[in-house]
């Protein structure tokens, strides 16, 4: 599990790689929250291009970060999910709350 956060045109892009499950979610949550609270970006993009697995722990991770971004006056987007990850996202109905592209 790896995370690389960069700023581009006012947006923060967090490139995640590896697998998102309950075991890994805690570390990701800590790193993302630390960044959100310190940088207060107006927009955070979670780039899932290199995520090879995600179960419903990922839904909790996205929902929690969306809530925190909202509290900080920003918004969250999830980008570049693989088709099988999109199926988990779709099942959760999270696209009603978070922009999924």
């Amino acid at each position: 599990m790896n995370i690389d956060i960069k700023s581009e045109n006012g947006s923060a892009i967090a490139k995640l790689s590896g697998e998102i499950d309950h075991h890994n979610a805690k570390e990701l949550r800590n790193q993302l929250d630390k960044f959100i609270i310190s940088a207060q970006p107006p927009e955070l993009v979670m780039d899932f291009k290199n995520i090879t697995f995600m179960d419903s722990s990922g839904i909790g991770l996205i929902m929690g970060r969306s809530k925190l971004m909202k509290e900080c006056g920003g918004k969250l987007e999830v980008r570049n999910s693989q088709p099988y990850i999109k199926r988990v996202l779709k099942l959760s109905g999270i696209e009603r709350i978070v922009k999924i592209t």
Partner: protein
């Protein structure tokens, strides 16, 4: 049920074993040559069931989780995940989408919904104080050759 091959894997309820369980299932099912999507569905369902055992069944204790994978005649995959943890008081309620007893840990309450959507059959048997057994089945598509 005619069993062609089977494997039993027992692991302590450590969260790091969520990925170990997925790896075991993937390795075992290679012999059936599932599609990427079928394997992904099964791995996700197994991950949900094992996570439930780690997070809920053994919340205040440690114990073992038993994973059984069988390849049945007719290209059907049978999976059983069993724990001897605290059990689920109300299985019907636990299976409702978005129901969770651990919102503070960002559990989405979608574990059983994922298992039921990604597998063909799902059965949950639980006894308070004794443990939970999750059984799932999925038939793999026939090969052309």
């Amino acid at each position: 049920m005619e069993v062609i091959n089977e494997i039993k894997f027992t692991m302590p309820s450590l969260s790091v074993n969520e990925s170990a369980a997925r790896a075991v299932v993937s390795s075992f099912l290679i012999q059936a040559d599932p599609t990427v999507e079928e394997l992904s569905d099964i791995r996700t369902a197994v991950s949900e069931a094992v996570t439930n055992a780690v997070v809920h069944a053994y919340r205040n204790a440690k114990g073992n989780i038993e994973l059984v994978v069988k390849l049945l005649a007719g290209r059907e995959v049978y999976i059983r995940i069993k724990d001897k943890g605290c059990g689920i008081e109300d299985v019907e309620q636990a299976m409702q989408p978005l129901f969770t007893t651990a919102p503070e840990e960002e559990r989405s309450g979608l574990g059983f919904s994922v298992m039921s959507s990604f597998m063909d059959k799902l059965s949950v048997k639980s006894s308070s104080g004794k443990g939970t057994t999750v059984t799932m089945r999925k038939r793999l598509a026939k090969h052309e050759n």
